[in-house]
């Protein structure tokens, strides 16, 4: 807000999904180094279709669906003045001239930001699309200041990432079976575990996978003992073996949420709730689990493993 004079939204529709993002943070506020406010900034929107956010944009680039990785990789080449194939660039739905113009603007910006949404990170290519944005931004820092930030949704996902990071060292897809954290998205991430049917129980906290995940994953959740902690009845709680009703975070339970830029914000409850908070429930489960005997068999001959 104070510095950015060049803003790109990629694969997102902030006008509908993050309605206060333009006015509070990115576009309209007058910043310390952007005294003109909206007039001092350029906004580029990259998406596969026209959304209400287009009206707020100075430049709208319509990419063909599933071509984001190709576009970003081309931009990386253009940033380094490398040749690209014009015909194959045209297959992405954008012309070479449009991309060259964008690269020129990116290089000439004083401080640029790329916000990337689910249209990028959840379409074909997935994590590599996000990796492409990160690589592009890292390379642009040879010319000017550039940063990027994912546009998160669903309440406190940033908080889950941040806490997992400082407790285990990894933001998600962590396995603790062997007593130490191991990170391997694809092997240990929730969707993949459920689709393959690799787990035999599930504890679901502050999420509704029954509404968002693919059908095989939902079928597996219904097959195994699933425990849901949620203030409301959700699709997941309907198929769960156990549903513990908890107090709603921020309304009747205190806590901390992390804003999208990883700023922790304390929440005070405004209502009383007859239900326990998520934290109380988890603490009580943990105490009971701790009281159980250790699972490691006492006598095991050590065999050297390669």
């Amino acid at each position: 807000m104070n510095r950015a004079d060049f803003i790109i939204y990629w694969g997102g529709n902030p006008a509908d999904c993050h309605p206060r993002h333009f006015t509070k943070y990115t576009l309209t506020p007058k910043g310390k180094h952007v005294p003109m406010g909206r007039k001092g900034r350029t906004m580029v929107l990259v998406d596969v279709r026209e959304t209400p956010s287009v009206r707020a944009a100075d430049i709208f680039l319509q990419v063909r669906p599933g071509k984001d990785f190709e576009v970003i990789t081309t931009l990386r080449a253009l940033v380094k003045n490398q040749p690209v194939d014009q015909a194959r660039v045209a297959e992405t739905g954008l012309t070479l001239a449009q991309l060259q113009d964008l690269v020129g603007r990116m290089k000439n910006a004083r401080f640029g930001v790329i916000f990337f949404g689910m249209g990028l990170s959840m379409t074909r290519g997935k994590h590599m699309n996000s990796a492409a944005v990160l690589a592009l931004v890292a390379e642009l820092n040879a010319f000017t200041k550039f940063v990027c930030m994912p546009m998160r949704g669903h309440g406190n996902v940033t908080g889950a990432d941040v806490v997992m990071r400082w407790t285990t060292g990894f933001p998600f897809g962590v396995n603790l079976c062997r007593g130490y954290p191991r990170f391997n998205p694809g092997e240990f991430s929730t969707v993949d575990l459920l689709v393959r049917g690799d787990n035999d129980a599930a504890l679901i906290l502050g999420a509704d996978p029954g509404a968002t995940m693919p059908q095989p994953a939902i079928d597996h959740l219904a097959r195994i003992p699933t425990i849901v902690l949620d203030p409301k009845v959700t699709r997941t709680s309907r198929l769960a073996r156990v549903h513990i009703t908890t107090a709603a975070m921020g309304i009747s339970a205190p806590g901390t949420v992390y804003r999208m830029d990883e700023i922790p914000l304390p929440l005070r409850p405004i209502l009383q709730s007859p239900y326990p908070t998520d934290e109380v429930v988890i603490r009580r489960i943990h105490e009971q689990v701790k009281a159980k005997p250790a699972w490691l068999p006492a006598s095991f001959k050590k065999v050297p493993c390669a």
Binding site: G66, F69, E70, T73, T74, R76, A77, K80, Q82, P83, V84, D85, R88, V89, E91, T92, R124, G125, M128, A135, L176, C177, R178, G179, F183, N184, P185, G186, E187, D198, N199, D200, W295, L296, P297, F300, K301, V303, P304, C305, A306
Partner: protein, 271 residues
Amino acid sequence: MITLTLKEQPRVPLEAEAISPDVMAKLRHDEIRAVPMFLGKRQRRLDDFFEVEGEASEDLEIRGDVGKVKWIGRGMTRGRIRVAGNAGMHLGAYMKGGTIDVSGNAADWVGGEMSGGLIRIGGNAGGQVGAAYRGSLTGMQGGTILIEGSAGLEVGMRMKRGIIAVKGSVRDFPGLQMKGGTIILGGAELRTGAWMIRGTILSLRPIPLLPTFAYNCNYNPSFLRLYAKHLQIQGFSIPHEEGDGAYLLYSGDAAVSQKGEILIWQPRASS
């Protein structure tokens, strides 16, 4: 020879890095039966899951569908493992030598970060064949992986040396960020050779390319004769004769370097 027969499919993945010739070679029958493996978080014994025959051998045979048994042959340096059925994830990861033969399909991460030896998959393989583990800079650094069927995403991600040959088609991102070595494909979906620094990807069927690859020439590289001869023994044939056609050479990825090469076979139009 040691024969392990699966009693019943474990409900959750079984981590069995002890199933490796290096571990088994010196163990007596009762010691093999007591070798530890991890079922989820619980440490169990090998004979909880497998019937064991034989002792002290570098030649292992695994019977039954071990599709949920991970890390078979981890870091092995010698000997031979035969799997009659499907194999689970991380088959032959970090292996340095020896041979693994799988008659069925294999899951993800076949030969992850291997540096030597031979893995042969009779069916299809999953993703990340010969790839680098997350956060690691280099994948496969030597050895050979041969796949008769198809393979998944990110085949040969960040590989540095060695050969991966897939008879069927692979999914997106083969040769992602590769630094060297050779990948031979029977075709691929999108984004072949994305961000490759060096190395060779050879496709026997036309594939879509990224805009950052530039066409260079049509030719029949002489090194391919050597490769063809080498792979012929394993039952893989690569066309390389002047009379049959030529390879279209593309170089890239311009976003990273221009030293990587993609060769696409173009048979001579029959007149």
